[in-house]
Structures are given as structure tokens and as C-alpha cells.
Symmetry: C2
Subunit: 300 residues, 2 copies
Amino acid sequence: MVEVIDGKQVAASVIETVKSANAALEAAKGVRTGLAVIIVGDDPASHTYVSSKSRMAKECGFKSVQHTLPVETSQEELAALVAALNADPSIHGILVQLPLPRHLDSEAIIQSILPEKDVDGLSVVNAGKLATGDLKTGLVSCTPAGAMVFVRRTHGDDLSGLNATVIGRSNLFGKPMAQLLLNANATVTIAHSRTKDLAGICRNADILVAAVGRPEMVKADWVKPGATVIDVGINRIAAPERGEGKTRLVGDVAFAEVSPVAAVITPVPGGVGPMTIAMLMANTVIAAHRSAGLTPPVFQ
Amino acid sequence: MVEVIDGKQVAASVIETVKSANAALEAAKGVRTGLAVIIVGDDPASHTYVSSKSRMAKECGFKSVQHTLPVETSQEELAALVAALNADPSIHGILVQLPLPRHLDSEAIIQSILPEKDVDGLSVVNAGKLATGDLKTGLVSCTPAGAMVFVRRTHGDDLSGLNATVIGRSNLFGKPMAQLLLNANATVTIAHSRTKDLAGICRNADILVAAVGRPEMVKADWVKPGATVIDVGINRIAAPERGEGKTRLVGDVAFAEVSPVAAVITPVPGGVGPMTIAMLMANTVIAAHRSAGLTPPVFQ
């Protein structure tokens, strides 16, 4: 019988850990974790994301600050805001919602965030720390960090002897995910669009992580019996069975046919999705602990 | 018939490219490439390495500066020297010979070198640039960069459809090598001491790179017929056949038995070894070009 991971429930338990860590930090040092979220322009989807992040930060007991800037904000104005937040000791995490309006240089802005406040894990310094296995001072991109919580809950901290395959090699997910798995002692294969015999390579994986953005690409015969399958894809496809013009969300894994083969699987929606925002809160409370000279909590 | 790569000859051709690039840079901009090498203490092996680096830099036509500091040099004195070299526009590459005497914090010194002068590719910023595929502004650690020259000479720039396996996951070699192979579109597996069925995983590799430090570990039946085998190990073993107390160098690959199976193989010594110093010169002339606003040469 396959175990379907309940991402909402795991995310909720991460949030509980964040709340108690934040409360303990405040009790010990009088420091409240501070998260600043910056949004530029009027994109409705971005505003929805930012609102849920700000709301979740408040729910965690954080000092939550949202900076909503007009679409015509200049590079200099945005850079000045980031610099002010970098210098503000009450702010431990800074998040710039992407995409920024086209006239702005996102990369320069992201790289100007102090690495220790870069709770999205996007700075080149945090990428380098992850790449060299320095998880003690670095911050890890939220979605792979969330997927690793699932892996740890299933397999423990030490993946020695397990083969893990990541399909997809993006800087946001595939590469950091592979590095996290390697750091936990898995034997790691990174496959992608240029891979030959992708099915055969996936069939060797005890832990299969799909992050390609191709609806239901991973079929039952790509999966080793008893594997852990983590689906990071979120694809909207037509769902005429729900009525004309209706759509639904599916992952990169053909859930219905893969479920009988796998031992553990994440659904879409409700799997990795809810973990991203939870790990953002986790990163922020980690950053606040480090800034106060305390050992941060561990998220299992 | 297996092709045995002549590392000395490939290294010599890299050095030729460095020389002409340095000459062209001097002609175009009046800038001579500058390499500063710092050595602290009296370790004879380190002095030998540093002398060959300084000599090679001179042979390339570089401004070659060697700073030989006494073993009792303090952290502050060494840091001050690095800071002065960081600020010196005539110096494009800074190399601190490791290991440093025990009382010094090597990591702090290495990370204080400006990333654009870090020709050993050891800074966290260069690790992050490599990890995120930014080879245009980053500097890559010399030994993996040298191994990639062999890969490119055999397979070209695009490794799409090829499986590459790296045995070993050190920050100095295994991890950057895997990232370079991935960046060239190979499907990459990173195996290591915790890997189960290492032989089986290696047998799937079109390009097999061994960097574990275990004499002649990779046997003939670990190798896919027709594979390219790159041996990064340098192990000194007893060689009683040469006389009592004699030793010889071998790689991580059992050269004699693997050669009939592979299509291309590197010997030890004389394979990857000579490439390291050549790629140090390559990195330095690349750094000098970037500093002058010119497109650096490509090393094929």
C-alpha cells in the first residue's frame, strides 16, 4: 500500500516548530524574528503569494514587514530599500518577490541581499555554501529544503547506499536538491532533457525526484518498485471532464499509475507545494537564531 | 586500440595558448598577466610546488611574484598581504599554497582573496558560480578544469546523451567535476564511499572519472566497453619488483586491465597531473583578460 505524503500536514508541523523556536528565541534573547517582503508592481499572482507569506510570518509570531512599491520604482530606489533592510538588525530575512518588472535587474538586486538574510537561498554565496556542503552557515532554497524534509521523514538523515535521481537541473530546484541528497550520502544522478534512456535511469532510483514541468511525464514503468517518488511539478492541464474550459493541476508524475508501484509518493497539489512557504519561515527563524548567536532548530 | 591521453602534451598545448593570449593582451592593452604566489613556512614539498608554479608563470611571460613568509607569520600579517595583493591592479591571480602552518586559519585566508583573483577556484563565490552554471564570470578549480579539457578533446563541447560518473565527492575535485560535466549536458552520477554496487554504477558510464585515492580500485569489469576513463588518483604504492623499499605511482584505475576495455584512458603519472599547473596559468590569463575588459581565450 503506497503512502501518500500529506504536504499540508508536514508543512503544519514545520510551522509549529518555527513558532516554538521563535517564541523560545524571544524568551531567551528578547529578539523577535523579522521578515521583510518586497513586492514591486501590480501582478495579481505575485500579490497573492506575498500576502500569504506576510500572513504566515505573522502567524508564526514574526515581525512581518511588507514593502509594496509602485511598478515605476527605479533600480536605485529598490537597491536603497534592500540596503536599508540589510542594515536593519530587526530584519533577519529579506525576500524580493520575483519576477520584478522588466526594467529592473533582478539578479543585481538578489545578489545585493546579505547572504545571511537571503532566506530564499538565491545568492551565489548560499549556492556556493550548499555546493561545498556548508549547511551550518548557508541558507538553502525553500522548495528543495522542503522536499528534503519528506526524504528525511521517510529514510532518516543518512541516505548511504540509496540511489537518488533528480530529473531537472534548474538552479532553483534540481541542482540544490541533488546537492542536498549528496550531502546526506545518497548516490546521486542528475538527469534532464538531454538524458538518453531517461526511463531506464529513473528505474534505478530508490528516491526519484521529478522537477521538469512536463505533465505526468514519469510513468509507472519508470519507477523502481518500492521507490520514494517526490513530485515537484505543478502543471495546469485541460480537464474537459469537469466541464468546458475547466482545468486541473497535475504533477510531473502520472500519479494514478505510479502509486501502485511506489512505496511513498507526494501528490500534486498538496505535496511539495505547501512546504515552500513553510521552509521560508524555517529559513527566517534559522537566520534569526544565527544572528543572535544561538543554534537554530532542525526541521525533520 | 585504446587511446592513452598524453597529459604532458595537452598541458603543453594549453601553455602555448596561455603564452599567446598573454602576448596578445600585452600588445592590445599594455597589460602583463600577474600571478602572486604566497608560501608560509618550510615544507619542502610545498616549496617544490611553488617553485614550479612561479617558474611556469615566468615561462608564460607573466609577471610572477613569489612571497615567501616565515613559519611564524601571524594571521594578521598574512591577511594584510592578501589585502595588498587584492588591491594591486598588476596582480590578476593570487595563490596561497596549502597547507598553511597549523596556527593559521586557512579558510579565512582563502575566502579573503577577491573571487576574481582566486585562480585556484576555492572561494565560496566561485563555488556558487560554478554550481549555478556561471562559467563566464567564475573561476574553476584547476584539476577538474584540466580533466574537462580531456573530455572536450574526446567528446566535444556538448555531452548530450552521454552518462558521466564521478567517483568521489570532494569539494576540490568531485563536486566541481560533476558540475562541469552537467553544465556540458552530460547525465551525471556522483558516486562515493557510501555507494552500493559501485561497479554496476560505473559500468553505466560513457565517461568515468575516478578521484578517490584508492590504488587501482577501478577494475576492468567496472568499465563500459568503449568508455572514456579519467584517472585523477595519485597513489604511491610499494614496488618490490623495482628493488627493496622502492615505490611507484598508480592511479585509482587498474590501468593494465582497464586499457583493453576503454576507448580512451589517462595514465598515472602523466595524465591529469600535468594539467593542474597548466590550468592555473589558464585561470590567471583568463582573470587578466576579464580585468582588462577583454574576452578570455577558450581552452580546448
